[in-house]
Symmetry: C2
Subunit: 463 residues, 2 copies
Amino acid sequence: MEKVSVKQLFRNTEEFISKEVSICGWVRTERMSKAFGFIELNDGSFFKNIQVVFNDELSNFEEISKLSISSSIIVEGKVVEAPNAKQPFEIHATNIIIEGLSDSDYPLQKKRHSLEFLRSIAHLRPRSNTFSAVFRIRSLAAYAIHKFFQERGFVYVHSPIITGSDCEGAGEMFKLTTLDLTDIPRNEEGKIDFSHDFFGKETNLTVSGQLSAEAYALSFKNVYTFGPTFRAENSNTARHAAEFWMIEPEMAFADLIDYMDVAEDMVKYIISYVMENAPEEMEFFNSFIDKGLFDRLNNVVNSEFARITYTEAVDLLKKSGETFQYPVEWGIDLQTEHERYITEKIFKKPVFVTDYPKDIKAFYMRLNDDNKTVAAADLLVPGVGEIIGGSQREERLDILEKRIAEMGLKKEDYWWYLELRKYGTTKHAGYGLGFERIIMYMTGISNIRDVIPFPRTTGSAEF
Amino acid sequence: MEKVSVKQLFRNTEEFISKEVSICGWVRTERMSKAFGFIELNDGSFFKNIQVVFNDELSNFEEISKLSISSSIIVEGKVVEAPNAKQPFEIHATNIIIEGLSDSDYPLQKKRHSLEFLRSIAHLRPRSNTFSAVFRIRSLAAYAIHKFFQERGFVYVHSPIITGSDCEGAGEMFKLTTLDLTDIPRNEEGKIDFSHDFFGKETNLTVSGQLSAEAYALSFKNVYTFGPTFRAENSNTARHAAEFWMIEPEMAFADLIDYMDVAEDMVKYIISYVMENAPEEMEFFNSFIDKGLFDRLNNVVNSEFARITYTEAVDLLKKSGETFQYPVEWGIDLQTEHERYITEKIFKKPVFVTDYPKDIKAFYMRLNDDNKTVAAADLLVPGVGEIIGGSQREERLDILEKRIAEMGLKKEDYWWYLELRKYGTTKHAGYGLGFERIIMYMTGISNIRDVIPFPRTTGSAEF
């Protein structure tokens, strides 16, 4: 008897009709009707449940008829067409083995639960419709990203998580130590003696793999990272987590235009891949989580993204007549309200804004000839605002050293990064995509805590 | 003019013969012959270099003729057949643009360097033949793993890196904090007051994603993790790093046999994928790093892995007449010398050793009916010894609680893990594969520091 998944049965129904199969999963609901019973069974492979019909010919009918929600069972039976039922087929059970009954205090009973409550049972919430869908989408999206880059010959680089430098320049860091915190060793000057620490010096958790990725791009031309990054920022919002995954592609012999071309292709590819491979989940999100979802995603996939400079964007915002909470002036960092106005009201599609003032951007971004702006570009999308940030990198040693000095940073901390500009430097560009951001965008889920299996946020590292 | 990679030219030579192309990369060598010059150019996309021929018709012939090693250039020219040369074709340059000259103190000059020296220039070493090959293999192997599991419907889970528990039970942990180490807050009892720390409690870096993966397997049936894990163990060996990547698949409704079946398929799949997609790199490793490599890998791919119990293994070792450094007795943890003897001398192919004494294995492994052994299995491979460890997990709540108590662990620390056994428990199994271990196995590289882009080991977190 063939062991099959619910997904296989739904995707290749024809092939299985009238066949005996074995299927296993967890009971979502059960209802009884005299000598018959109906179980909605879910095995996590698919959004939908499969209906299992059983009758009192089963030797353990009594037991089966009282299954609690989320009990695990193995069903053997025949796949039968059911043209009038909700699903086009069902399983007529010839044998049902109970693997594990679920206690009656199972917290995920069949009723609506708040997302807050579900977070408190993060080990069980993927058994609900919503989270089951979210985390299958997350998995598919991750694979789509690998597939996109691998098909284009990009080399996947595992940039280090533990970093000996605190100069990645992207935010507050977590310190890492094996020192005994109750008795921290001090040197003769009374300062902490990190020579006793595991790495013999201060270490932190990475906030970005970009600098490492640049080194690899200058060897392999096209590379990408995809790994966890960390921010110890005390921002208790729906969009920030202390631990999240980033994708950071980096391309040598590439400029700002090349980056925008690749990023645009990538965003369209991920969305298309997920919509094609998880239509039922996406249908659910569009119907129950965010009614405008399909319109928004189709608009992204079918648009040619707009490209305007920061200076043009500022002009458009000033001419718009709109009153913003933060007034618009050349030189300000664009706020979400500005970004959304540009992409939602002015262009009604994704927009790359390029060439930002150098003072609001990082030291490694390439200085434009105007000496005022840098070759950076952020991708703004309707419904969210910024979803990708990137730039051409400063490949000229002298200018990079000057920028490092201007920013009050220490040249020695960047010795190897600077050497990349000494030994066969070349124009190069890259960007960062927050993985959770794109999952939120594709599902309509509005809190980052609900797209991470076990989220870590200010004050919370449960499970 | 089409921009192409060196790999595209080698893989689809026919298509490009007589065409004008643009190609960019770094100069590996240059030699001059009167009015002609020859450049070996590498762009990181491929193991081999492409030969670029240029002559004094180029306006910048003087400059081009003095290119230093690792200078970056863009070449425009015609692809021409070269039937008598080392490569079947070469590029006749019509234009060469210098992107960046390399300083004369470039440390990776054309001579043999020690691996130790190359580690000190981790930002440049991927420009050498060996490391260029290693890190392309690493990227391909990572993709092969995703492909293998995704094609089988496994859900990719990002298990958390920061953990609020120190009870994952797999080794020494790194502490994580945002407290000011020079002035650590204390509570009234004089103990460290972690309520002021970022997460409001003690946190560490994960040593294993298994417990999280189990929660997800009990929702999705088949899942896998692929992420960084950490050990703060002071072991300065060629096989241990403080930061490494692990793959941890977990399958519900699966037993020890199911795990062994999947693991065997996976190992064969990864090796086959890499050998098929990087034949030049693998040829290089087989010729210059490890002359027995192909024999060993082909043996793995073409063997049916043996499966014996620990008890049988101990008997075989005792009967072998071999003198081991560590004497063999039932109850001991098998040492590498034993493992290698079993797989290399006795079976001459990969071997799963199953059903280890419970006292040498973790609390979560399923207790066998003999009450002495657990349903664990390690995969031993010729040349290395253990490469995969896994087990069926204890799915019975009462026995699991008893094992936790026996091991002196606290039940409260495992509340959610125990709940998985209360709400629809089912037999399940999983395993862990150290990603670097399999890269070392497939390349013949013997030090883990040489298969990680920027390795972190005791006393070392450079770059």
